[in-house]
Structure formats: C-alpha cells, structure tokens
Amino acid sequence: MNNILTQIGIENYIFLCVTLFCVGIFGVLYRRNAIIVFMSIEIMLNAVNLLFVAFSTYHQDTQGQVFVFFSMAVAAAEVAVGLAILVSIFRNIGSISIDNLKNLKG
C-alpha cells in the first residue's frame, strides 16, 4: 500500500466534500433555529478541512494539514463566541429563532 489515493482516487474525496458542503449550505438556508445554523456552518468547515487533507495527501505535502490545524483553532474560537452571543440573545429575547433577530439591523 503505497498511497491510499491510488486505491480510492481523489475524485471520490472531491465528490464527498462537495456534497457535504452543499448539505451545510442547505442547512443554513432551510432551518430557522440559530443553533442548527451553527451546526451547518461546522459541517461546511469540516467538508473544507477534509478536502485540505485529501489534497495534502495527493501532493505529499505537510502544509495542507497545518492549515487544517489553524482552521480548527478558528472554528473553536468562533463556536465559543457565537454560543455566548446566542445565550445572551436568548436571555434578552427569549427565543433563538433567526426571524426574531431582525431588530438587530441598523
């Protein structure tokens, strides 16, 4: 077993990641609950990370995995701050439906 991609093929990984990314977009458009929208964003981030790793394996290069590491750090920070914002919105308004946030516009 030299390279795993000789057996699977990078096209399969591209298909998988594209479909996963589309599922994430679909979740953002379809649901109204802000937490589910958050989860969809996580799915999209993960699709991109998986594609990074696949291409890093394809090019036999370390850099792709380093970038996945940084994007994970950013995702962790984003989730922490976003959930804190959601909690304070829930305290003030009493729901986390996205439609109730329209008084946030200027």
Partner: protein
C-alpha cells in the same frame, strides 16, 4: 473493489446520512448527537488518509470540546420541539431547489473535468506528528502563536458576553 474502497464508501455514507439527519431532526439534542457521529466518521476519514495527528485533534476539539459546548448551550436554553418554529413553505422550497441546483452544477463540473490518473509517491514522511510539529514550530511559528492569542481573546470575550449584568436599582 478493495477493502479500503469499501471502508471509504461506508464512512462516506455515514457522514452524509448523519449530516442530513442533523439538519432534519426536529429536536436540537438529536441533531447534536447526529453531528457527533458525523464528526467521528470524518475522523475516520482522516485515519484512512493516514493523518493521525489531525484525527486525534479532530476528535478532541470537535467531538469533545465543541459538541459539549453545543449540548450545554442547548440544555441551558431548555429547547425542545415545542418551541420549534417553521419557516414559510416558500423559503423551504427555495432552499431545496437551490441545494439541488448547486449539487447538480458542482457534480456535473467534476464529472466533466479531466480525470486525475498519476499519483506519485516519493516515500518520504510528510504527515507524522514529528514532521507536523517541526513544520508548525519552524515555518508557521508566528501563526501558531497568533492562534493561541486568538483563543485567549475568544475566551475572555465569551466570559464577558455571558456574564450576568448587575441590576441597576
């Protein structure tokens, strides 16, 4: 069909199915649990690609930290199916149609593109924890430190945001 390909297909099926279920389940706690399964299957993909470091970090950060945070938030807000509001049917139809269109266009593009046949293998080690650590602390030293500052700032911001304000009386 080799074993690896079968493994890949099973993992992909689990990933896509649980991602869909995350979006469609009405109860937010169910979606969080489906998302955990989705993250574990993605960690399986990383292991399949022989990226052990990222698999471990993915399980610790996503399946551990982020999911616990999400579950705690869901339980803190005491959400359940009762206060789930539905989007207007028009918006949902639009979401479905745009999802199908985006998928169709992207998959058609990838089917029509030229297939990749050559896979070179130099034999050198490029993804073990040792090599990744050297890359992180040599070439990517400054971004690595900035990541730590980012996490610190996010932590302080979270504490400040979720702190209860004193009642002014």
């Amino acid at each position: 069909m080799s074993t690896v390909l079968i493994l890949f297909c099973v993992l992909s099926a689990i990933t896509l199915l649980t991602a869909f279920l995350t979006i469609f389940s009405r109860n937010p706690i169910h979606s969080a649990i489906y998302l955990v399964i989705c993250f574990f299957s993605i960690a399986g993909h990383y292991l399949l690609l022989n990226a052990q470091f990222l698999a471990i970090v993915h399980i610790i950060v996503y399946s551990g930290a982020i999911m616990i945070l999400l579950l705690f938030t869901i339980m803190l807000m005491n959400l359940n199916e009762a206060d789930e509001v539905h989007k207007p049917r028009f918006t949902r139809l639009g979401a479905v149609v745009s999802f199908c269109l985006v998928c169709l266009v992207l998959i058609k593009i990838f089917i029509d593109s030229k297939p990749i046949v050559e896979y070179d293998y130099t034999g050198q080690d490029y993804q073990s924890i040792k090599v990744l650590g050297k890359a992180l602390l040599n070439e990517y030293m400054v971004p690595f430190e900035f990541a730590s500052i980012l996490l610190l700032v996010a932590m302080i911001g979270t504490v400040l945001l979720s702190k209860k304000e004193k009642l002014e009386k």
